[in-house]
Amino acid sequence: MLELRHISYLVTEAGAEQTILKDVSLSIPDGRLVVFTGPNGGGKTTLARIIMGLVTPTEGQIVYNGRDITGLSITERARLGISYGFQQPPRFKGITVRDLLTVASGDDRLTKERCCRYLTQVGLCANDYLDREVDASLSGGEVKRIEIATLLARGSELMIFDEPEAGIDLWSFARLTETFEELHRTHRATMVIISHQERIIRLADEIIVVSGGELRYRGGADEVFPKIMADTLGSCPVLTRKEAANQ
């Protein structure tokens, strides 16, 4: 169980204080698949990064499996079973896909078969990729899929994915949603996925709309989806044809 208690995050820019997250509290029971969605700049990524320890909140407490982890480092959280898939994963000169999966798995003797399994789950062929360096020679979509494979190799109890669909082609995306679905069905992980994709949103047990640094709505897909649509279109007279017609 992951609990966020009264999390706030403020930054000071050019002398002015700006609130990124405002008193956010939520709990995610084990085995759940939760999707954070909402407009750009609403605070989704900051919230996810706070869970991993990549960002330190100004106020509030993070409790994981009953333990206060607010003061723990990224490494300590990783070792407790939290992992994070970056929206824009870094590239490494000289580190191969196999090296990265080996580090992720924590097993120095990680077999080719296991690497193959993780890569297949993200739609990549081990023969083509295992010995390639994770450097600028790979496309954005390839690096992104390798990033997701590192989380699968890590096998953490809590997996956080920041826009896993970004830059991935339609066919690989279909394979990826199957992988998320299977992880969820077999209760192998609790998942927090930041996404704007309807197919991923439809997989969720709960959708949380993060907007303006707050949790705007929470609920199942059928309940939340219409609200997202109304919110997105609602303020724009051109997008809402009715209002546009009235003008």
Partner: protein, 307 residues
Amino acid sequence: MITQVDQALLEKIADLVGKPVGALNIRKDGGCEARTSTEHIKIDARTDGNEGIDVRILDGTKGEKCYIPVVISKSGYAELVYNDFYVGENCDVEIVAGCGIHNAGCDEARHDGVHTFHVGKNSRVRYAEKHYGEGSGDGTNIMNPQTIVYLSEGASIQMETVQIRGIDSTKRVTRIVCGKNAEALITERLLTHGWQLAESDMEIVLDGEDSKGRVISRSVAQDESRQIFRPVVIGNNRCFGHVQCDSIIMGSAKIESVPAITANSTEAQLIHEAAIGKIAGDQLLKLQTLGLTEEEAEDRILKGFLA
């Protein structure tokens, strides 16, 4: 006599464990500790009055190795050695050089080596050169290797130079002249720390039609160390040349990288790339999310970069 310390050095610089198969010359503190020629590879002392050896590889020699490591174990010892290699035509051989210094004293230990290769038509040479220094004393370890290579038509050399820690000062000079259809590849790996200084001048001259030259240099400068790189490719004909220098800078180190390409022919196609930067923050963060500490993450990044 080869001591246990020497044996450990030989393993580090030339992967030598026990007696290898192939031609061999072990030089220690100016003396010859071991010398073995084979049917196809002849090693002899020079006859021109200079220190060093002549290595003659007969035409058509394939799949053979030649080891010529140098060990210095005396503090205060300095030498200048000339080794010449005459590789015949249609050969495919591997030459493993390297120098290890164990300096337990407080004086300077120094090895200056000049290696000259004459590579015959259509021959392939893989040349590995590792430099390593250690020792409990305050004495400095200095190595100044010079490598000059002449590639005949269709010949190639893959030169790999590695210097990871332990050498306080190095000035290396590499010059390769490529004939028609010849190909030169230099890969350099360098890590300096403390107050070490490393200077590397490289020049590939693409004289022959359709010759190719490539320099791939990766270095890490830590602490207060300084590195200066001057890789140069000169295209005098229809040719292809590529210089790629990447450096990671850490602590209070300083790196100067001055790649240069010169075209003396409209058919020369030359590229250079050079980058210096610290380890990217997001690389460290990514590896930390995989359970490594910040120090472990840094080590892993450097290990991969210099692999």
